[in-house]
């Protein structure tokens, strides 16, 4: 296939031309927009040395011997044109170049000029990400790139976002794009990168741009290029410092007050007593007798032993003696501090960029935060005329204080604050509402061993979080080194060795003095993980400009990738004395373990890029990968791509359309692969280690799957780049069809086989979508300029084949014609007005629909998708002289989210002691029968149970967020400062992250996981900062 392609290209280059007698070609070069002559434009014959410049009238004359000629015409700030002509007199119109469409962008293993390139690439420039008030690069990309879905499901400082390019191309295998930093796959921690070091980010979305990465390109590629020095007489020094403050971006769920709580719980107890067969009067008495003893507290004081009367109302005169807000108590105003310093410069022989960075991002919940220290040096050296060398070294040390902040565990700091109602005191309290004081006269934290289970007895994170340690320390080292030899004109051999190293250290310590671990004398668990990956690649490129306007670039390469992972850890308990927290000071070893994994990949690849007259473009690539994840017989996969582009605006029939500056059509198609199925050994039958009482033991862990093979991804893209009205309006429109075949999937098995699932290649999945990026300059008066950058994308996901009729897994069901994002859950039918029971729909085998009050009997239906209909962002930038105001608004419209967090606030009487949502005030009573909230009772009626999902808790996922707003001012500086090179620029700014959120369901942060279910996550954070940037 590659061979025939190359032959074809070579054939194209062999047009036979006959020599003619020398004769002149005359012409005039004019500006396209106003037909004014351009003086000083360079005109050359083909790519030869024969060249001339235009005169003041824009005229030129050039000698040739051929009948058919190719002229190349260039002018600073304008597009270069190549003209294929047989005539001897010419009028050549040069358009202003479009910054966006003409830039040079990084793609797989090389760089290309965007104009005419058939691939779909989005780029994000440094100014969009350098000074954002988040440590997370993924989060700062949200709303900036068409087709990139960012979900910051956990807003804990130091956590990374989930990124999806053009939807999820896989179900169980990884959907995460490949990250490439300075030319090599990056296995380091994304949060260890300093955003200030980033020069640009390219998002490769289609086969042409990405597929040279072969099996790693299936989910798209995010290429990060860090800054480098430029040749200059003196060094450039930049320093930035800023200080910000954070809180929650959205308010947490509303709760009932103490009176309402006690009355509701009384109602629950009464209704349960009625279920138990007691009379109404008996039931009321039982309820009044048990409210206080069940909740194990009486905030109304001892004189009101039964604060809720037999009428279900708080008795006259009783009022709560205290009211403590736990959610506020576990929150803090987080500080955000960032400082950057970098130094760059160079000569013709060498360049350097050296930087250091510091970030202290405190969380909005106590005990959470993220610190980062960065160092980087990027060096290049022209060692010989034919040899260039480069070395990028970066190191980062991060410390994340990570009190549990996701999932349903009781020490989840976010959930904890929301769970305990305000009538449980934070500090020990006397029955009369006064605080108990210790011998020093201080308040004493209340660990509440009396509290019911749902109010988290023996816990008070206000007291324990400061004493406990939940710390993840990470040292990242990254090296990118290359040698590049120019073997002949246009022939370059480059070898590069790239390595990423992470030393990951975590420590989870529970103090022996207070809280959960007191009975075991405190506990500590520590682990250390070392990951080392390296990529070695050797690439030969040949670049040649043939005469007559043919340009060819060939690339051939080899790559070897190796990843090793080694983990070691232990846990122990029983500390000798309080204040000690390392395992050495504990007396009982609970466990010690460690293991290692190896993963290797070997690849060979080649690519050809061709263009004629910078007008007709064609590319093709091929790659073969072997992965150690698969059995020897199925481990090799072949991946390829082909693409074509046509710059129509350069054609003569469109040259006369004065308002049209750019019009380029492009299309590409290719196949890439995915081997990332959560296991490194995807073929063997395995037995996991399960020791028993000091004897070695094993137990089944994986069924053998010798036939398991690559998941492949077929990616078709077609698009159009355009620029109109002097490029005041420009943009890109892309349409794609991404088909994933042989999906790697943990197929659920009947659990009675002894295995919950088996890894299998199942079916086909298709993502179809459309993306629009639009840039416009509505106003540009010189002093004032308004820029708009807008992107919008739509993706549709559909299962197109399956080996069986359906596969049900969790809240989703796979079926042909449906999306992997479609919820398949029970449908809420409201509350039975007769008795207050919850109802769900049931459809029997005859297709007749009725309702049931037993959750388990309800039928599961397709009830909508978690996939948004459109996502995108709008950036507006206003510049007036030295003042700049810009804001980024990101949005996600359509789709649904299943709010499981909220369910835990709706359990009502079934979980006495847990906070109640305000919505429970609307619960059914014999007098209030028209409602969506069932009767209160201590029984689990099956509707408010996190494992029982139904449409009752399915909410619209649409939201809009003012992600970033920045107001900046360049200070007027004395001219002598600049001349003497003291200070070149001082920029002061005010900036905010997540300032406003527009969404529908109170309390739920709308940024949740891609699959549309919530899981008690740390919410998004709003940060407001002031900062200053100095250039010397």
């Amino acid at each position: 296939m590659l061979k025939s392609l190359i032959t074809g290209i070579l054939l194209l280059c062999t047009f036979v031309t006959f020599p003619q007698s020398p004769h002149p070609i005359k012409g005039i070069v004019l500006a396209a927009e106003n037909h004014q002559p351009l003086a000083g434009a360079t005109v050359s014959l083909g790519k030869s040395v024969v060249q001339t410049s235009t005169d003041a009238q824009g005229r030129f004359t050039i000698e040739t011997t051929a009948a058919k000629n190719v002229l190349s015409v260039s002018f600073v700030g304008r597009e270069t044109r190549e003209i294929d002509t047989r005539t001897d007199t010419l009028t050549i119109l040069l358009s202003l170049s479009n910054k966006m469409l003409d830039e040079v962008v990084a793609v797989a293993y090389t760089t290309v000029k965007r104009s005419g390139y058939p691939g779909a690439v989005s780029t994000v420039t440094a100014d969009k990400i350098n000074n954002r008030q988040t440590g997370d690069i993924g989060s700062s990309l949200q709303g900036l790139v068409a087709g990139l879905q960012t979900e910051s499901a956990n807003g804990q400082p130091g956590n990374a976002s989930t990124l999806l390019i053009r939807g999820s191309g896989s179900i169980n295998a990884s959907s995460s794009p490949l990250f490439v930093v300075n030319g090599a796959p990056y296995d380091g921690d994304l949060n260890a990168l300093n955003p200030a070091d980033i020069a640009s980010i390219s998002v490769l979305k289609d086969a042409t741009s990405a597929n040279l990465y072969g099996s790693r390109a299936a989910n798209g590629v995010i290429l990060i290029t860090t800054r480098s020095g430029k040749a200059s007489t003196t060094a450039t020094i930049n320093a930035t410092i800023n200080q910000g403050w954070s809180n929650r971006a959205v308010r947490d769920y509303d709760q009932v007050n103490t009176d309402q709580y006690f009355q509701l719980y009384w109602q629950a107890l009464k209704n349960k007593a009625l279920t138990n067969g007691f009379t109404d009067a008996q039931a009321s008495t039982i309820a009044s007798q048990n409210v206080v003893s069940d909740l194990a507290i009486n905030p109304y004081g001892t004189q009101y032993a039964e604060p809720v009367g037999a009428d279900g109302k708080i008795v006259a005169g009783a009022h709560p003696l205290w009211d403590n807000n736990w959610a506020d108590a576990v929150r803090q105003k987080g500080k955000f501090t960032q400082a950057q310093l970098n130094l760059s410069g160079g000569s013709e022989k060498s360049t350097y960029y050296v930087s250091g960075g510091y970030l202290d991002n405190q969380g909005v919940y106590i005990g959470s935060g993220f610190k980062r220290y960065n160092l980087r040096a990027n060096l290049t050296l022209q060692a010989k005329s034919w040899l260039r060398a480069g070395l990028d070294v970066s190191g980062a040390s991060t410390i994340q204080d990570y009190p549990p902040s996701s999932d349903s565990r009781t020490d989840n700091v976010v959930l904890f604050g929301r769970t305990i109602p305000s009538f449980y005191p934070i500090y020990e309290i006397n029955p009369d509402g006064t605080y108990k004081l210790n011998s020093q006269g201080q308040k004493v934290l209340d660990y509440g061993d009396y509290r019911p289970q749902a109010a988290l007895p023996l816990m008070n994170l206000v007291g324990t979080v400061p004493l406990d340690i939940n710390r993840i320390k990470n040292e990242n080292g990254s090296i990118r080194a290359f040698l590049e030899a120019t073997l002949a004109r246009g022939l370059v051999f480059k070898t590069s060795y790239n390595t990423d190293y992470i030393n990951y250290n975590d420590q989870f310590y529970n103090n022996p003095s207070y809280g959960q671990a007191t009975s075991i004398g405190g506990s500590v668990s520590e682990s250390n993980t070392r990951t080392l990956s390296y990529t070695w690649n050797n690439i030969l490129t040949w670049l040649h400009d043939f005469s007559k306007g043919h340009h060819l670039e060939l690339l051939a390469g080899h790559e070897y990738y190796s990843f090793t992972y080694h983990q070691l850890g232990g846990n122990s308990q029983g500390f000798v004395l309080p204040g000690l927290y390392e395992p050495v000071a504990s007396s009982i070893i609970e466990g010690f373990s460690g293991y290692a994994d190896n993963y290797n990949k070997l690849s060979f690849f080649g690519q050809a890029q061709y263009n004629y007259l910078s007008r007709y473009y064609a590319t093709a690539s091929i790659r073969r990968d072997g992965s150690s994840r698969f059995a020897p017989d199925s481990r090799w996969g072949t991946f390829w791509s082909a693409g074509a582009g046509w710059r129509m605006a350069s054609e003569s029939f469109l040259r006369s359309v004065s308002w049209l500056n750019v019009l380029t059509l492009k299309a590409s198609y290719g196949a890439s692969g995915n081997d990332n199925l959560n296991t490194y050994y995807a073929y063997e039958g395995l037995y996991g280690i399960q020791n028993n009482l000091g004897n070695g033991g094993v137990i089944t862990s994986r069924l053998p799957t010798p036939g398991l093979k690559w998941e492949s991804n077929l990616n078709f893209n077609t698009g159009i780049d355009f620029g109109i009205f002097g490029n005041r309006v420009s943009g890109t429109l892309n349409y794609y069809i991404r088909t994933s075949k042989d999906l790697l999937y943990s197929k659920p098995l009947a659990a009675s086989t002894g295995f919950p699932s088996v890894d299998a290649n199942i079916g086909t999945l298709r993502n179809k979508g459309i993306e629009l990026t639009l840039n416009a300059v509505p106003v540009n008066t010189g002093a004032f300029r308004w820029d708009i950058e807008l992107n919008i994308s739509h993706n549709k996901n559909e299962v197109t084949s399956l080996p069986q009729k359906e596969i049900i897994s969790g809240t989703k069901k796979l079926m042909v014609g449906k999306s992997i994002y479609d919820f398949f859950i029970r449908k809420w039918a409201g509350v039975d007005p007769a008795n207050g029971n919850p109802l769900w729909y049931v459809t029997d085998s005859a297709g007749k629909t009725s309702t049931t009050n037993v959750y388990a009997q309800g039928t599961q239906y397709y009830v909508g998708s978690s996939l948004p209909t459109v996502i995108g962002g709008i950036t507006n930038t206003f510049r007036y002289k030295t003042i700049e105001l810009s804001f980024l608004f990101s949005y996600s419209l359509g789709g649904k989210v299943l709010d499981q967090d909220y369910i835990s606030m709706m359990t009502g009487g079934a979980s006495p002691g847990r906070s109640f949502s305000k919505e429970l005030l609307d619960s059914w009573t014999p007098q209030h029968t028209k409602t969506d909230v069932p009767r209160m009772t201590t029984d689990d009626l099956g509707w408010a149970n996190t494992s029982n999902s139904s449409t009752r808790f399915l909410y619209s996922a649409s939201y809009g967020r003012l992600k970033n707003l920045t107001l900046a001012w360049h200070l007027p500086l004395p001219a002598t400062w600049k001349q003497n090179d003291y200070v070149r620029d001082i920029r002061v700014y005010l900036t905010g992250e997540n300032l406003l959120t527009f969404y529908g369901h109170q309390g739920m942060d709308p940024e949740q996981s891609v699959n549309g279910t919530t899981y008690f996550q740390y919410p998004a954070v709003r940060t407001v900062s002031v900062g200053a940037q100095f250039s010397f």
Partner: protein, 503 residues
Amino acid sequence: MKKISYIICLALGLVSLAACNKQLNTVPTNAVSDDLLFQNVTNLSTLLQGTWSSMMDDFYGDVYSNPGYKTIGLVSDAMGNDVAVIPTKYGFKTTYTFTQMYDKTQYRINAFWGELYKIINNTNIIIAHVDKVDGDAAAKNALKGQALALRANTYLVLASFYQFSYQKDPQAKVVPIYTLPTSDTTVGHSRATLQQVYQLILSDLQQAVTLLQGYQRSAKWLIDQNVAQGLLARAYLNTGQWTQAAQAAVAARQGYPLMSPAEYKTGFNNIDNEEWIWGHPEIPTQNGGSYSFNFLDVTYNQGYYSFMADPHFMELFADGDVRKTLFYWDGDPGLEGYLAYGKIRFGSIPNQTGDLVLMRSSEAYLIEAEGDARANDLNDAVIALNALRDARTAPEYDPTGQTQQNLIDTILVERRKELWGEGFSLSDIIRLQKPVIRKPYTDGAGNPIQVTVTTPDGTTKQVPAKYHTAIRFPDGTPFVANSPYYLFAIPQSEEQNNPNLYK
């Protein structure tokens, strides 16, 4: 120069190709492949160790309220007559109120099902390979006998909870049977009848008894002939084979005398107890199963503290019975008026350990007594019953003027009294086709009976006694015999992924 570069790069390419290709074969460090496991009987026996460890000490479904195999017993007791679960506590409230185990979508339903069948598949692997691997015959017999008995025990659990009593309808379909290892092409089996399941159980156990002849176990968690006989006794009792049940029970308790009254008060946490025929020792590094004490041990107020006794249960004991001395009215804040039964307690709180009992000779005496009584061998039944009563310093049963039915009823009450907290409540209710009985503990006027408690500061006060909070089914109907609320549901995920289940 250029030529050399070409050669270098070609050479590099070839060398790397050859070297790297080999690197594509990697092996895990935390797992082994089957060929290694099936080399000899020593290697194969690691599978029994792992299966046992997983069964006893894994948190089923990864939640703390499912601390290993003992959870099934906790569920059985929470759904019976004599445990009044505190409704504000963790783990067993919905079990106790009958809103959990009949619901096929519940996490605990999934967890039990998956874990029990995982044990079955692992024992199937041992049984399928043990005769083919290298090793001496005695070791192979011991391994095979244990695998068969463990498989039988697992099917016995399934048969006890997933369908009504065998004595109600042996043809009722219960759960699928698998006797061969699962492969990636295995499709789920359909449910077998109770009769088919018990046929397999009895045949496995009878084989095990033969294979374990002469086997001297090195630890009490291992299954020897006594344990296999005890399991046989349970299976015979469930299927109404009274004489065989009594005989097997006698065989099971040989060498395991009843414990002394003093020992009865030590907390049921020590495997060295002479009465324990089968149990599982717990160590600090493997103490998942000990987590069950957090629920059962209500003398330890840092645990989940929820398995209280029904006041009516205390009234079943005669004064002087050592077992009665373990009751007291709770005076801790938030728990005032609950009846605590201090029978089962942690062994070591700093280590969070307590050994787990699986079979005691007192159960064998009770099976013997019930078997004899039902087989109309009343004398032997009374002897067995009174042997137990004597050991517990309880008044002897006087058969004078009593009917066979009275004797059987007395034995069944004795089972409740002796085996409280050990997991026999619901399985007996199902087996005996009886309703759950839970009554308010109130005076004639319907007010709770006042009891005296001692608060932590030493003062005493009168508080209303706490009693059962779920005295009817959640739909408001009274408890009845053979109610579907008593049965464990087959999980929804099994229904969805096993096309043959209901065929």
